[in-house]
């Protein structure tokens, strides 16, 4: 099978892939994106472009992804089902592919309750697994959801998210299997800090025979400070930062905490590289894109 994107190619060659993340600006500035592109270009295989993350209005992920394409950086366009019904979703997928966007990550999306506009009506017409299946049918059958034959099918490399740290834990692998069955080619996980739990999840996935059916990219986020660690653990949905990590950050002088965060991140990446069933790493350096080059170089991923 011909590969669908550079990310796909890298993964199918059995190489350890690296993806980064770029949050579009809260405005129409092309320059902000270009700055982020410069910081990431050359260090990662592809970059996730978030879709109104945490339900805060930002430049659309399609438009921002198109800017990446224009600069030769491959985007993974994130798409949430919170804001669009199936008609808009399919239309956006067709449009995105026409703009050269070849990877998509299918998500439910954070609830708007904590976003900048909690008064909004949400959509949730289809769920994230339905979205995966929709993109797959558009790609492989060349049909939209109504069964209509598309003139050109969007041939996208399809991703989905997994959170091994959410509950109920026993169900997490069933859900992974469902995403794979629906058509997910790759999985990006929630940030890993609790390695024991991640290892257990990968083991269960392997037991279910899922390890060879999908590429798994482990998520990492370098912690900037002990305060950030505590905040994420308490406030960010589905985040699990063990007490040891928070203590470790606490034990470091404030001005060196960022370095320690990067060190923890590098240790995690090292473990991921050696773990069977893990095919790459997804580095989410939230508003800290400068850190990505450093991490990639020091982890020997370049």
């Amino acid at each position: 099978m011909k590969t669908l994107s550079r990310l796909h190619e890298k993964l199918s060659n059995g190489e350890f892939a690296v993806t980064g993340e770029c949050g579009p600006p809260r405005g129409s500035s092309k320059e902000v994106i270009q700055k982020k592109i410069k910081l990431l270009n050359g260090f990662v295989d592809a970059v996730n472009v978030t879709d109104n993350q945490t339900a805060i209005v930002r430049m659309s992920s399609i438009a921002a992804s198109a800017h990446l394409v224009a600069q030769g950086l491959e985007p993974v366009m994130q798409m949430v089902v919170r804001d669009r019904n199936r008609i808009a979703i399919q239309s956006d997928i067709l449009g995105a592919y026409s703009l050269g966007i070849k990877n998509i990550l299918c998500l439910s999306g954070d609830h708007q309750k904590f976003g900048s506009q909690p008064d909004a009506m949400n959509v949730f017409d289809i769920d994230s697994i339905n979205l995966v299946r929709t993109v797959k049918d558009m790609r492989d059958k060349g049909k939209d959801m109504s069964g209509f034959d598309l003139d050109v099918a969007p041939r996208m490399f399809i991703g989905a998210a997994a959170n091994p740290f959410a509950d109920p834990f026993e169900y997490r692998v069933i859900r992974l299997a469902k995403k794979i069955d629906a058509g997910a080619d790759f999985i990006q996980t929630q940030c890993i800090y609790n390695m024991d739990r991640f290892r257990e999840w990968i083991r269960q996935a392997a037991d279910e025979g899922l390890a060879d059916k999908v590429y798994i990219l482990g998520g990492v986020t370098p912690l900037k400070s002990a305060g950030m660690a505590r905040y994420m653990n308490n406030k960010v949905a589905g985040m699990d930062i063990p007490e040891e990590i928070i203590k470790r950050m606490d034990g470091i002088d404030k001005k060196n905490q960022a370095d320690e965060g990067i060190k923890i991140c590098l240790e995690t990446i090292q473990e991921l590289k050696e773990m069977d069933g893990v095919h790459g790493v997804h580095i989410m350096a939230i508003e800290w894109e400068e850190a990505v080059g450093l991490i990639v170089e020091q982890a020997g991923l370049k």
Binding site: V81, R82, R86, S108, G109, D110, H111, K113, F114, N122, F124, D125, I126, D127, S128, I129, N130, R133, T134, M145, A161, A162, N163, F165, A166, D167, P168, E170, Y171, I174, R175, A177, K178, D181, A182, Q190, A237, G238
Partner: protein, 222 residues
């Protein structure tokens, strides 16, 4: 039942302000059970409005009445003389009751006194929870009797999102994650396999998305 809660008193006062004679009309079914519009609430509201208008040195005549159901013509009939005597009706029924009154008394102003909320139950004394959104195509059999369309904040049909932690929904520490409950219950019932099959996009045509709905029972049409 349909749940509702009374509108803020000052909003109600503004609604009735232009009228001299107002009938506060309660409904003895759903809204009574959720303490929004039964005879007790009618009495309290009448008293509060009288106090409020007296304080404003405005006179208003308030009549109180509660009928069994405002959503059925048979019962609405009982209100007709009260309706005739007054300039406006402040209905404490759900939105359906208010509209049924408006339909029946075409020339009378009918005002809503409650905010109608949802189809739910009284989970424990004084606490009401939403259980069904009337989607028109019930899938409770698959989900162990717990509705993800209504009780999952994202209407997910294929399992919990990544925000579910310790049995709680990501939106609020007071909201249980519907999917956690579904999984627990299906585990108890030995039906966890229900969740392994892919559930295709829901047909919303039977819900409000398909436009206002109508139910027709041919055998009852005379």
């Amino acid at each position: 039942m349909i749940t509702a809660s009374q509108k803020p008193i000052n909003e109600i006062a503004e609604l009735v302000e232009p009228y001299k004679k107002v009938l506060i009309l309660g409904c003895g079914t759903c809204v009574k059970t959720c303490f929004a519009g039964g005879e007790d609430e009618v009495a309290v509201l009448a008293s509060v409005l009288r106090l409020k208008f007296k304080k404003m040195a405005r006179s208003i005549e308030i009549e109180e009445l509660t009928i069994e159901r405002q959503c059925e013509n048979e019962f609405i009939q009982e209100a007709s003389s009260g309706v005739d005597r007054n300039d406006a009706i402040l209905s404490l029924a759900c939105g359906a009751g208010v509209q049924a009154m408006a339909k029946r008394f075409a020339k009378k102003v009918v005002l809503p006194g409650v905010n109608t909320s949802f189809i739910g139950i009284q989970e424990s004394p004084g606490i009401f929870t939403e259980e069904c959104s009337g989607c028109g195509n019930c899938g409770l059999a698959t989900f162990g009797g717990i509705c993800p369309v209504t009780r999952c904040s994202k209407k997910l049909l294929n399992g919990p999102c990544g925000g579910s932690q310790k049995g709680l929904c990501e939106i609020d520490p007071d909201t249980p994650c519907a999917w956690h409950l579904i999984i627990e219950r299906l585990t108890t019932l030995g039906q966890l396999d229900n969740l392994k099959t892919y559930i295709p996009p829901k047909n919303w045509n039977t819900s409000l998305s398909g436009g206002p709905r109508k139910l027709i029972r041919e055998d009852h049409i005379i």
